[in-house]
């Protein structure tokens, strides 16, 4: 209930500012352009959206920081955090409210893209199960990304710094797995890189494999960063 109050304020503020619309338009234009122009969806003649979903984590690297950069950094800069922290909330409730605000907006943008698979489904034998799995994967990686972005923002006092830092962090964790292959590393180090990276866990959802470990991975990453975020808020008090 109390988290909803905060989430609603976040959404209101985002809708009153141009950020929500910019993020939505950028997401839809970029992903569609990727599918139809860069990858010649129709010329491929495949009833699969794997190409489309492949690029979404990369788009998130740029868009999630735009949604989360303000959340704490701007509150600190404006001083509104002083008021927010004297409202009768626990730190965890404030953090969860911020999370649902950012993730809610991201989820709304993703929902706006649903007409695309619905329209294309008339053209061939798409696997509806796989598409549902792909959307679940998108929401899971999006939730983890929002948690990371919020945490980075809680360490920053400037939203541009928050944007760049969380963008770099997301880029690293998203592509860390490919680094092992790129440097042709082998052994445990490569396996560790693959394990902590977002992409390998997302790819199984994209291929239509439902593995609870991959769901658990994203949920744990989300929970970990939200917890760290709440700790950062408490630590601020003893500064």
């Amino acid at each position: 209930m109390k988290t909803l109050v905060i989430a609603r304020r976040e959404l209101r503020a985002a809708v009153n500012s141009p950020i929500a619309i910019i993020v939505a338009v950028a997401y839809l234009v970029f992903t569609s352009a990727w599918l139809f122009f860069r990858n010649q969806f129709f010329a491929r003649n495949e009833a699969s959206l794997e190409i489309y979903f492949q690029i979404i984590p990369v788009v998130f690297v740029f868009l999630i920081p735009a949604l989360t950069m303000r959340s704490w950094a701007e509150e600190k800069r404006m001083g509104t955090l002083e008021v927010l922290l004297t409202l009768p909330f626990r730190e965890s409730q404030v953090v969860m409210g911020k999370f649902w605000g950012a993730f809610g907006l991201l989820a709304a943008v993703v929902v706006l893209s649903i007409p695309l698979p619905v329209t294309l489904s008339r053209l061939g034998a798409f696997d509806p199960g796989q598409i549902i799995g792909q959307y679940i994967g998108v929401l899971l990686i999006g939730a983890a990304g929002c948690a990371v972005g919020l945490f980075v923002s809680s360490l920053c006092k400037n939203q541009v710094a928050a944007y760049i830092l969380s963008g770099l962090t997301l880029l690293t964790v998203t592509l860390l797995g490919s680094l092992g292959q790129l440097l042709s590393l082998s052994g445990w180090f490569s396996r560790v890189l693959t394990f902590i990276s977002f992409m390998p866990h997302y790819e199984s959802w994209n291929r239509g494999i439902i593995d609870t470990r991959d769901a658990l991975y994203f949920l744990l990453v989300t929970a970990l960063f939200l917890y760290l975020n709440a700790r950062a808020l408490v630590a601020r008090k003893s500064a």
């Binding site: 304020r9 009153n16 002083e82 922290l85 009768p88 909330f89 626990r90």
Partner: protein
């Protein structure tokens, strides 16, 4: 009821607050007065649970800020310095959010919104974006935020900064009205502010309370000493006999003695009140062959107390 019990706060090597204790009863308005950096805001942040004290604790309405922050936050309203607000919302949206956060709903919420809009004079800007508001309206929106749940404790950090004289009078009247049944702490570095609203004043310097008292006590303190500024013309070269002056009836001591650009002697004397010191000074000047150009009595004001106490290295 606000109780601060031996509060100390240290930022790294800087001791922002040192062993501060006080109580504020309900129906009392207390002013924290001090230069910038004296620790006023830090004390307020500790009282509102936004900062942990390094040592000591505070109780708000019996709830400890360290053990039960949620209960503390429920019974207090806080206006931080410069009234920070969400500029991407309208006044209505903002107060609506605060009301929700304070757990107000239905008719209670509606009447609370109407009450604060009325009290703080916000109806002309109720549907305007906060971004376009003047400093005065922002300050009042911040105050409305602190008042919406009718808290028993009010903590106001420099509530009248940025307001015009007319608005200052309005806000003071509002604070005085609220102070009848609530415990109010307000901070200021403006002396008139504190004199006009507070029953009791704490003067802070470098994190310590260096003086405290009711306004009456402060005024009595002011009357304890009368300062007299004397400007005299003297014949060139003749020595001035300070010893005789200082031993005159009613004269306590010579505070300062200088010669100005015109060659006049300008001195400040400390006199015992109502002991005829002024006459003694006049007689002394005449006897020494000097002409008094002006004699201006200076009452020791709250300002003087404040300035002498808050100079670095002031006596404890």
């Amino acid at each position: 009821m606000i109780e601060a019990l031996n509060l100390s706060k240290r930022y790294g090597s800087l001791e922002a607050v040192r062993d501060v204790s006080f109580t504020v009863a309900s129906g009392e308005i207390v002013g924290l007065l001090g230069p910038n950096g004296a620790g006023k805001t830090t004390i307020m942040k500790i009282l509102t649970c936004s900062l942990f004290p390094t040592r000591g604790t505070a109780r708000i309405d019996g709830h400890d800020v360290l053990d039960d922050p949620l209960a503390v936050k429920e019974c207090l309203g806080y206006l931080p310095e410069n009234a920070p607000l969400y500029t991407d919302l309208t006044v209505h949206e903002y107060l609506d959010f605060i009301a929700d956060a304070r757990g107000l709903a239905g008719t209670a919420k509606k009447s609370a919104l109407e009450r604060v809009t009325d009290e703080c004079g916000l109806s002309p800007v109720f549907h305007r974006g906060i971004e376009e508001l003047s400093k005065g309206y922002r300050q009042r929106t911040g105050l409305a935020q602190a008042l919406i749940h009718d808290p028993r404790i009010l903590i106001l950090d420099e509530p009248t900064t940025g307001l015009d004289p007319h608005q200052i009078v309005e806000i003071r009247e509002l604070i005085l009205r609220l102070g009848k049944e609530k415990s109010v702490i307000l901070s200021s570095h403006i002396l008139q502010e504190v004199e006009a609203t507070c029953q009791r004043v704490f003067i802070l310097n470098e994190g310590r309370i260096v003086a405290q008292g009711t306004r009456e006590e402060m005024e009595r303190g002011m009357r304890g000493e009368v300062l007299l500024d004397v400007t005299m013309k003297t014949s060139r070269g003749s020595p001035v006999d300070i010893k005789t002056l200082e031993s005159s009836v009613g004269v306590e001591k010579l505070v300062s003695f200088t010669t100005d650009s015109r060659g006049m002697i300008v001195m400040r004397l400390s006199l015992t009140p109502n002991a005829g010191g002024e006459e003694a000074v006049f007689d002394w000047a005449v006897a020494a062959g000097m002409k008094i150009v002006s004699m201006v009595p200076q009452r020791l004001s709250l300002e003087d107390i404040f300035l002498s106490l808050t100079k670095t290295g002031a006596p404890q």
